[in-house]
Amino acid sequence: MTLTLILEQTFNGLQAGVTLFLVAAGLTLILGIMDFVFLAHGAQVMIGAYAAAAITAASGNFYLGLLLAIPLTFASGYLLEFLIIRHLYGRDHMEQVLATFGLILFFNEAIRIGFGPAALFSDLPPSLTGFVQILPDTPYPAYRLGVILVGLACALGIHLFVSKTRVGAMVRAGANNPEMTAALGINIKILFRLIFAVGACLAGVAGMMLGPLTAVQPGMGEPLLILSLVVIIIGGIGSVRGAFIAAIIVGLVDTLGRVFLPAMLRLVVDQATADGAGPALASMLVYILMAVVLIFRPTGLFPAKG
């Protein structure tokens, strides 16, 4: 019974981790390569979730919703970079914070006007509502397993793209030294725009997959944004590999901590104290982890800039 619980929660942690990775992968490159503080990345998650939910509701087909939402999020990222973001590169970080904060307000309010303030709930197609036996007598929701698999596939795809292709080499060069990369004749403007659009697209995919699991509502991407910032700090800015490892660690620590920390505390201190302090400590666990990493490795576990 306990083993089943541990296994189930580990899978939940993995699912949270890969979702976080999808958000953090694009953001770590935006922060690392473009030196741009992009706080509106959470809005991309929201746009993805709403696009998928709206198309699913209109067409009645869940898969069509996902399929059409992907190019939509790509286009939204591309347009955003073209219209606003590219004018803000090289500006003071504080001004970037302010402008992207303005974007968050705008997107949240636009969604509120378009879809209403209440949360949308999208139903899963019958083919995904079943359970899969991950071990004998250990059923696990098929959809969550699917999320893990899609996330891992995306991670593998990003890894192969970054390490094996020519454009990937440009991205790595850009993360290491943007000026030198531009001096070598690589069109850094187009590269930036593509990274931005792909990053938005990945965040959108995270939102689409989260849609049926959580409520699709204005501002839904913001908690994810802040956790993915923690992931990026732990993994090292600009490092996709670091983002993956840190995302899995953060996902597991957060999920398992919330479930098991209160019980573990009960072994050490009396019940009343454990019940009071357990949830409080569990909610801080990820940030304590970040502080510890900062003390020993101020530039993260896998710094991209050598």
Partner: protein, 340 residues
């Protein structure tokens, strides 16, 4: 990076900046007379909110504007100050002076720890780390069920000896006195050797280091001072609201503080207060304005405010103080021409 703040401008216009600060503070002292004759007590409430947010923004400005450290987590200190009131009352301590001392100690200590960890880094890392620690404290208070958790806790206004805060005017002037004190203190801090060094660190840290000073010590000190000021604002905020919830330290409030500072003028004494006036007035006016154009969408005024913010960043330089500067410089230039 384009300079947002120039050292020369401050020394030339430092006197005017001071004067503007005291004009604004004097204005707040006289404001209740106007509301009394206009018979609009609601305006006093708005003025109190402006003073509280302005005070917190003035504290943050020491770090942000004078020190050049982009802290995105100062709402956490406001929250800590507010919870100092709530939690002490929970345990039966109702004396307001005790709350103030406690909040100073708690925020000073939190500023020391967060500052020590965050100041090991700079640039984007610093922004994200301050934000992350603020979120940590936010979630801590959300999960503390005994203190109301997500719903927060309601509280009584504290006892300040003879000053009964349930009298609206006394509350108003309590806040005003603290604001004037913070303004005076910051004026001395900014003019002191410490303040000059802090600004020097902002423009060239390695040069300050080469002069045999330890920049980290100055940055830490300014971080702690600003945390304590925000805590002070938090204590008063809790008394004003008679209620405290994690919402007070939501990360968007840190963003609001930053907006207020940039709107008013970075690295100036009067800027944050001016910014708070404009920001909160916009918050009142935009819904009315939108309600006149499109009545169904009056609540969605953020749809105008977001783009406005982006415009300020793209086209506005140096905030409202900068605008005043440019206007006055233009007038001075015209006078010169006429004289010649």
């Amino acid at each position: 990076m384009r300079p947002v703040f120039s050292f020369a401008r401050l020394t030339i216009n430092g006197m005017r900046d001071n004067r503007l600060l005291w004009v604004l503070i004097a204005g707040f002292a006289l404001f209740p007379i106007i509301t009394h004759f206009a018979d609009q007590p609601f305006w006093n409430d708005l003025a109190m909110r402006i003073m509280l947010l302005g005070m917190a923004a003035m504290g943050l400005n020491l770090v942000l504007g004078y020190g050049g450290m982009v802290s995105f987590g100062h709402a956490a200190f406001i929250g800590l100050g507010a919870y100092c009131v709530g939690i002490s009352q929970f345990y039966g301590i109702t004396n307001g002076w005790a709350h103030l001392v406690l909040s100073g100690m708690v925020c000073g200590l939190a500023g020391l720890v967060i500052g020590y960890l965050a100041l090991r880094t700079s640039g984007i890392y610093f922004i994200m780390i301050t934000l992350a620690f603020a979120q940590m404290l936010f979630f801590l208070f959300v999960s503390l069920e005994q203190f109301g958790g997500d719903d927060g806790m309601s509280l009584d206004r504290a006892e300040f000896g003879l000053i009964d805060l349930y009298d609206p005017l006394r509350l108003y002037f309590m806040i005003w006195c603290v604001l004037a004190f913070v303004g005076l203190a910051l004026m001395f801090v900014v003019r002191s050797r410490f303040g000059v060094t802090l600004r020097a660190i902002k423009s060239n840290e390695s040069r300050v280091e080469a002069m045999g000073l330890v920049p980290l010590r100055f940055k830490m000190t300014s971080y702690v001072i600003s945390a304590v000021i925000c805590g002070l604002a938090g204590v008063l905020f809790a008394n004003w609201q008679e209620y405290v919830s994690p919402d007070i330290m939501h990360w968007t409030r840190s963003g609001e503080l930053m907006i207020i500072i940039i709107l008013g003028g970075l690295g100036t004494l009067a800027g944050p207060l001016l910014g708070a006036i404009v920001f909160l007035l916009l918050e009142e006016i935009l819904p009315v304005l939108l309600g006149n154009i499109a009545p169904a969408y009056a609540e969605n005024w953020m749809i105008l405010f977001g783009p406005l913010l982006i415009m300020v960043v793209m086209f506005g330089r140096g905030g409202l103080i900068g605008l005043l500067d440019r206007w006055q410089m233009g007038r001075a230039a015209d006078n010169d021409k006429r004289g010649a």
